[in-house]
Structure formats: C-alpha cells, structure tokens
C-alpha cells in the first residue's frame, strides 16, 4: 500500500501484508501457559507488532503544528466527537456500525431481575448472541477482500477466523462475568489484524487514518465496554482494587495523554514532556466538574469520568495511582511516556493478563529475530514456575487419601509473582480456565527496551 511506504522509516508502522502472496492463517491459540512463557512472549513477532501499533496510534494522537493558508502556524488537536469520529473514512465507519450493533444487542439481553450473587447472568446471553451473529456481522462490515485475504486454496483457516477470535475475546469473560485489560488488548489485536489485512487502506497515511481508528473505533469500543460493565455489573474480579491504575482499562490513558502533549510536526518524534497550551492540568483529574467537561473531548478524562461514575469516595483513596500521577510536573508528555512504559510492564509483561492472549498468523508466536533479550526485572525473575505435583485425584474420587499438599510447591521467592498458573495436572480436565485477570498495578520495573522506552 502506498500510504504505508510514505511513512518515514524512523516512525515504524505496522506492516500491511501483500495480498498477492499466499498466507497461511492459523486459528489463534493460547501459548502462554506458565510464567516463563511471558519471557518468550516478549521476544515474539506478536509482541513486536503490538508495540509498533500502540506507538503508531499514540504518536498520531499527539497535537500537530500546522500552517494555515496565510502561513501562520497553528495547532491542530484531535478530540473525541470530532470529525474523526463523526465522519470517519468508510472502513472505520463500518467498524463503528459493527460496534453499534453489538451495543444494541445489550437491549436484547436486559439484566436478569432474579436473584444473583453479583455479576448479571444476562451478560452470558449477550455473549452468546454476539458469538452467533459475529460471522454475519463481520461479512456485513468487513470487505470480503479482507476476510478472504490471500488465503491459501484449500486452507482450513482464513483471515476471518483470526479476526473472529480476537473480536470475541474483546468483551470480557462470559464465564467469570468480568472484563479487564487483557480483553482490551484483544480488541487492539482485532484492529491490528484489520490493519495488516489492508482494511484501512482507504485512509490517509501519516496519522490521519490512525486518528480515525483511535477516535472512530477505539473510543466507541470503550463506550460499549463501559455500558456492558454498568449493565451487567461485571465483577472487578481480577482487580488490584485501589492499587491498580484502573479496574478495567489501560489504553485510554495512553491515547488520552497523547492528546494533551506538546504539539509536534509530522517529522518530529513523540515529545517526552510538555503539554499543549491551555491543556487541563493533570491535577484537575480530581475535580469532578472539570472531568465532566474534559471527558467529552479527551480519552484520559473520559476514563477518569467513568471511574467517577462507578466509584464513590475520595478520588485519592479509590484511585491513588492516578492521583499520584496527577502530581507529575513535566506535563502530559511525561505522563504519556510513563503510561507506555507502564503498559509494557503491567499489561504486556504480566502473566495473569497475557496468558489469555491468543497467537495465530497475524499476531504470531514466532520469535522476532531482531528481538532484544528482555531485561531481567524483579517481576520477570519471579514468574511462577509451577511444578506439576503428583496426581490429583479426580473430583469426587478418592476422598481422604494421603495428602498431596505435602509434596506440592516450594515457596516462591518474595517479589512480584503470579498466582496459580499451571498446566492442568493429570486427573483434571484440560479446559480449566486461568485465574481472573488483574488490572495493572504500580509494581515491577519496565522490562524491555524496543519499541517502548527511550
């Protein structure tokens, strides 16, 4: 695609595949089964591609220095509700429509009024309807050239299968009735797949199409998710509670802080500090009335506004991470840089989150030959290395035998670690789901270099 090649090499963009060559699509599957697998993940092409794509979207959201007809310099900003959302390019509008249809399915699965413990069981009905209708919805909203992209004749798996897998993983767990950053990551992969398949080739390169995607797809996606959370009271099961950035989301804090960063020209790199003129002060996130104004325009404030919608109590108490970050002195650019590092460490490098990520052809488990060795951090050093203990009796059987707990694990070293990850031991069915996904939290050190941190 021409637009791709126009991008200066110093700002990498996600590769767009060549439709004229054959591609072997793979039904996406989980590959991260144990703690040490995270280390392998950080050297995969999938990890590289996620990084490139997030950085690409992030940089596009940074305000731009432009010259008007008279040659006078001015600043262009990119906001929620702007033409990027209201008049997006056709490909983006189609995905918007798709999201709107998923949203309207919530009306068809009203919350169950009956007794419940917490999360509303009607959410499962919604998931079921989505699963049933996704094949048709994708065919209606994604061109056939994308769904059947470069398929090998006779291949059992198509690009459509990969797209379906990531989209279905984007709205939380039907079983656990929860939602977290891992699901948000799955949606990013869905858009990333579309990108690789050339679905957004109707847009203008060098930022415009990326802004279409962030404001025209990602923010509307977050709205659907927020409605799901409110409608079905999705449990913050994997939450760090007050010690995470946010119970559910991470990416809006990245793109939202980029929106307020010091403006650049199209040739300049992302600033590492500074704010756009008249940006709301970071400290204003604790002021509800300012948040209510800014949330209409800005994704960071939109996310904070949703916290205010669902949480009661003093902000500094229920969201101390965001509160502390609001004291950063070097502007939104500094916050943006920190958010990206934190995303890398707390989302991409955390076993409980990425264990659910699936790998196919588009987001591949293949090792990236150029990958650097991930830096050994406290966190990485303490990924669980769970020994498989002796045979666990089948549930209901052999009650009261000699205790297998005695031979179980050695004590894990102190420091960051991850609970209860394991390959199902003998005697247990293999479909055992993993633990709930935790939200990002403040511990751990940034683990890798490229393409995240400078």
């Amino acid at each position: 695609m021409a637009s791709n090649q126009a991008t200066p090499g110093r700002f990498p963009t996600l590769e767009i595949l060549d439709p004229s060559t054959a591609h072997t699509f793979i039904q996406p599957a989980k590959r991260i089964n144990e703690g040490p697998d995270v280390n392998a993940f950080l050297k995969t092409k999938a990890y590289r591609d996620i990084g490139i794509f997030v950085m690409q979207l992030n940089r596009a959201m940074c305000p731009r220095k432009v010259k008007d007809e008279s040659g006078k310099e001015k600043t262009e900003t990119f906001q929620i509700g702007s033409q990027y959302e209201t008049q997006p390019v056709e490909s983006v509008r189609k995905i918007q429509d798709l999201l709107a249809k998923l949203d309207s399915l919530i009306d068809e699965a009203p919350p169950d009024p009956g007794p419940r413990r917490f999360g509303n069981v009607s959410c499962r009905k919604w998931h079921q309807m989505v699963e049933e209708r996704i094949p048709n919805l994708l065919r209606e909203h994604v061109p056939e050239s994308v769904l059947k992209f470069g398929s090998t004749p006779g291949s059992p798996t198509s690009a459509e299968d990969e797209l379906t897998s990531y989209l279905l993983g984007s709205f939380g767990s039907a079983q656990r009735l929860d939602y977290g950053t891992g699901h948000e990551l799955s949606f990013l992969a869905f858009i990333g797949c579309l990108w690789k398949l050339g679905a957004f080739s109707d847009g203008k390169a060098d930022g415009d199409i990326e802004r279409n995607i962030v404001l025209g797809i990602f923010e509307p996606y977050l709205r659907v998710v927020r409605r799901l959370i409110l409608t079905y009271t999705l449990e913050p099961a994997g939450s760090h509670g007050v010690w995470g950035l946010d119970d559910h989301s991470f990416q809006p804090y990245i793109y939202g802080s980029a929106q307020l960063t010091r403006p650049i020209t199209d040739d300049e790199p992302m600033p590492l500090e500074g704010s756009i003129l008249r940006a709301p002060k970071p400290g204003n996130i604790v002021k509800a009335e300012i948040v209510d104004q800014e949330r209409k325009r800005n994704m960071y404030f939109s996310a904070v506004g949703f916290i205010n919608d669902v949480k009661t109590g003093p902000f500094w108490e229920h969201s101390p991470m965001l509160f502390d970050i609001s004291g950063v002195r070097d502007g939104w650019g500094k916050i943006n840089k920190g958010m990206i590092k934190m995303f890398n460490a707390e989302v991409l490098s955390k076993f409980p989150v990425v264990q659910h990520f699936t790998f196919g052809y588009l987001f591949s488990w293949d090792q990236d030959p150029d990958a650097l060795e991930p830096q050994q951090s406290v966190h990485m050093a303490n990924q669980p290395n769970v020994p498989i203990s002796g045979n666990m009796p089948a549930p209901g059987g052999a009650v009261g035998m000699a205790a297998p707990w005695a031979q179980i694990t050695s004590m894990p070293p102190p420091g960051a670690g991850v609970p209860y990850s394991r390959i199902p031991p003998n005697g247990r069915p293999t479909s055992r789901p993993g633990p709930p996904e935790p939200q990002p939290g403040p511990t751990g050190l940034p683990t890798t270099r490229a393409p995240w941190s400078k």
Binding site: R176, H240, K350, P352, A403, I408, P412, Y420
Partner: protein, 426 residues
C-alpha cells in the same frame, strides 16, 4: 497507656505504625498463632466477619470512627471475634486493617481468632495490591515480608461451639424475654441493632416431603427489606443443632472430616493445589458433586457435598467468605452453608451492603456444645449418626443474626499530599 494500646489507637485512625513496631508485633502474633491448631475452637457468643480488605474506617465495628459497639473495644470485648480471612489486598487501608487485627490478637489473644484467606499469600499479595501498598507506605518491602511471615501461621478454619437456638437481643433496649418466647432462627438487623426482618423457625409440618425446607419452593426474597435481596435465608426445621465450621473458601475433595484438616501441615505458603488450597479457594455452586472452579484454584461443590460433609461431621452450618454477596450474606442449600461478606461497597464501586454473623451463647440446655465435634482430642466416630433424627436431613442451625451495614459516610478529611509516582513516570 501501653505501646500496644497506642498502636491500636493509631491504627484505628488509619495511621501506620513504625516499621520496627510492625516487626515486633508480627513476631508476637506469630508466637501466638504457632500454638493454635489448624482448626481453632471458638465458643459462642461469636461475631464473625470476612473479607476485611477494604477501608477499616468503613466498618461500623469493631473499627475506628464508626457507629455502635465500638466502645466495647475499650475494655476486653464481651464476645469472641472471628475474622475469616482476606485481610489484605485491594483496599487503601488493608495494611492498617491487618495490623490492627494483629494488635487486637496480641492484646486479647483468647477473644480474637484470625483464619487464613486466599489473599494471605505471597503470590497473591504481589499481584493484588498489598505488596504495592506496603512499598508505598514504607518505601521498602520489609513490612510486607513481616506480614507474609504471619500469614503462614494463620489457622485454616474454626469450629464454633455452644451457639444457642435462641438469640440474645441485638441492643440493650430489647428485653431478652422477647427472644426466649419467639422461636427465631434468623434475624437481620442494622448496625444500630434495629431489626429489619425475622424468620421463625419452621416446624416439621411445614417441611416439604422431599425434606427441603419450604422456603426454597416458595422462592420469596429473604434479604433485608427493600434491598431486592437475593439472600436465601429460608430457615430450617426445628431439631437439635450441631457445630458451625468456619473456613474462608469451602470444602475439598481431599477432606471428608474436620479431623483431616487438623492433620495438614499449614505452616507454609498457600500451595497451588491440594486440600489446604481448596479450603481457601473453593466455592459452593448449584451443581451436583464437584466441579472445576473458574478461579483456577479450588473447586466448586454442590449441595450434596455440603450435606454429606455436615452430616458426617455433626455440623449444622458452614460459614464461609470469599465471594462478594450483594446483600452481605447468602444462605444456600437449605441453610447448610452461608456466605458472609463484610466489605460494604466493595472496591468503592460494587454498591453492596455488608454483614457480620452473630451467634449467641447457649443458655441452659439449649446449647449445642454437647453435640459438637470439637478438637478436644476425642474421636466421635462411635457417636456419629446416633443422634441424627433422619439420615441425610439438613441439621438445624443455631439461631443466627446478620448485622447488615453500609459504608460509613465519607469523612471530610482533606486531600493528602501526592506521593512520589512509580518509576515509569520519573
């Protein structure tokens, strides 16, 4: 005022105590806990609460700035307190909460019982906030380490003995005669002791033929009025009662008697599987037998499992924690198991009310003490089943009061200074 009393006052105000004092406190607490069995015997009256991981100030009791019976802590408490795990993680003040409980344990060792929850673990606390909280408050992980060393010595369960068929009044304004007359099985009251609802003990005629309690088929809502309650506290038929087993999560396929819990080697990090893990992780569910848990640890277990276990162990009730319940408590399986949840508006967002469970002291011949399976070193194998009225029938529990409360109003304390941000933002 002793150092300990000073620490209690300071922690009640949600102010951390110095690191050296934490170290000493944890050491003392560990010395006490090491002497306890895996299953601690607690005599009624008992007040049991769970999942105290959030803000201690939001508890009406027994914590700071709250309503009601807080004053009882200024003298030795007049009831036994049982805390059913999940002291830490997620809450802004989970460290202060846990340290306060340790102080009270050291101050009133016989009155305080703390049992272990699945969050009392190194692995879990590094993921779900407690580690971060300690580092943020002390600048190092030392305090986290001291606390984790205490976790390894916490008991795995408790057996409540001597709970009465009859409740004692919830406040001093109600004469106890009122309770002696009325055959109340379940009472729900608010934090001030105002009665919200009551459930009479059912007599045998009301039993449905299949032995299930009539309330199950009636399907009426039984939680606090006006709350859209899902608590299914239906009550059960009147017959003598058994002991109450308290455990954080639930049962294990590896454990068929309470005595088997006593044989576990508990002084270790919570294992990834096995009986000790299951006791802290499992959940009851509307299934037959055992099922896989979506949590990735422990099991789901059905009504049949609970009934067989209770019958075999002469238990009338299992009280457990571990799951958020909108109404603060939820009795299941013909009142053979109850989930108690004592964290109001969990994580500042869930909008749930909280509950503590109170069991009254048995007066005269009503006590269930004699029928308990206590840890007094005897095997009751020969006795088992002899006094059962009918094989498999749900045992009738002691009278239960659920004291339901909401999050305390926010205090007007000003915004604190911002702490240094995490490394990412430097």
């Amino acid at each position: 005022m002793s150092d300990l009393d000073k620490a209690i006052a300071q922690l009640r105000a949600c102010r951390p105590i110095p690191e050296a004092q934490v170290r000493e406190l944890c050491h003392k607490a560990r010395e006490l806990l090491i002497e306890e069995g895996n299953v601690v015997t607690v005599a009624a009256p008992v007040t049991a609460m769970t999942d105290t991981t959030t803000d201690m100030r939001r508890y009406p009791w027994p914590v700071p700035r709250s309503h009601g019976a807080l004053s009882s802590w200024r003298r030795p408490p007049d009831t036994n307190y049982l805390f059913m795990g999940d002291f830490v993680d997620r809450g802004f003040y989970s460290l202060e909460s846990f340290l306060l409980l340790l102080c009270l344990k050291v101050r009133y060792p016989d009155r305080m019982t703390l049992i272990r929850g699945n969050h009392e673990s190194r692995q879990i606390t590094t993921v779900y906030g407690f580690y971060d909280e300690c580092v943020r408050k002390y600048g190092s992980a030392n305090v986290w380490r001291y606390c984790c060393d205490v976790f390894d010595y916490l008991a795995l369960g408790a057996i409540v003995l001597g709970a009465s068929n009859t409740l004692s009044p919830p406040n001093e304004h109600i004469p106890s005669e009122d309770y002696a007359e009325a055959d109340i099985e379940i009472e729900v009251c608010n934090a001030d002791g105002d009665i919200m609802s009551r459930f009479q003990r059912r007599d045998n005629e009301q039993r449905s033929p299949n032995g299930a309690s009539a309330s199950t088929s009636a399907g009426g809502k039984t939680g606090p009025p006006g709350s859209g309650a899902s608590g299914s506290s239906g009550g059960s038929t009147g017959n003598p009662t058994g002991a109450v087993l308290c455990v954080h999560g639930g049962l294990s396929p590896l454990i068929d008697t309470v005595d088997k819990i006593r044989l576990l080697d508990r002084k270790q990090e919570v294992p990834h599987e096995g009986a000790m893990c299951d006791l802290l992780w499992s959940d009851p569910d509307e299934i037959d037998g055992w099922g896989l848990s979506p949590r990735g640890a422990g099991f789901l277990f059905g009504a049949d499992i609970v009934k067989v276990f209770n019958h075999r162990n002469d238990l009338s009730l299992i009280a457990r924690a571990h799951q958020l319940v909108m109404e603060g408590f939820k009795e299941m399986f013909d009142a053979s198991i109850v989930t108690v949840w004592s964290a109001p508006n969990y994580c500042y967002r869930c909008g749930n009310v909280a509950a503590v469970l109170e069991l009254s002291e048995g007066g005269g011949g009503e006590s269930i003490m004699a029928r308990s399976n206590g840890d007094v070193g005897r095997s009751d194998g020969g006795m088992r089943g002899v006094m059962m009225e009918s094989e498999g029938a749900p045992k009738n529990g002691p009278a239960r009061r659920y004291r339901v409360f909401q999050a305390a109003p926010q205090d007007s304390r000003g915004m604190p200074a911002k702490k240094p941000v995490a490394d990412y933002f430097l």
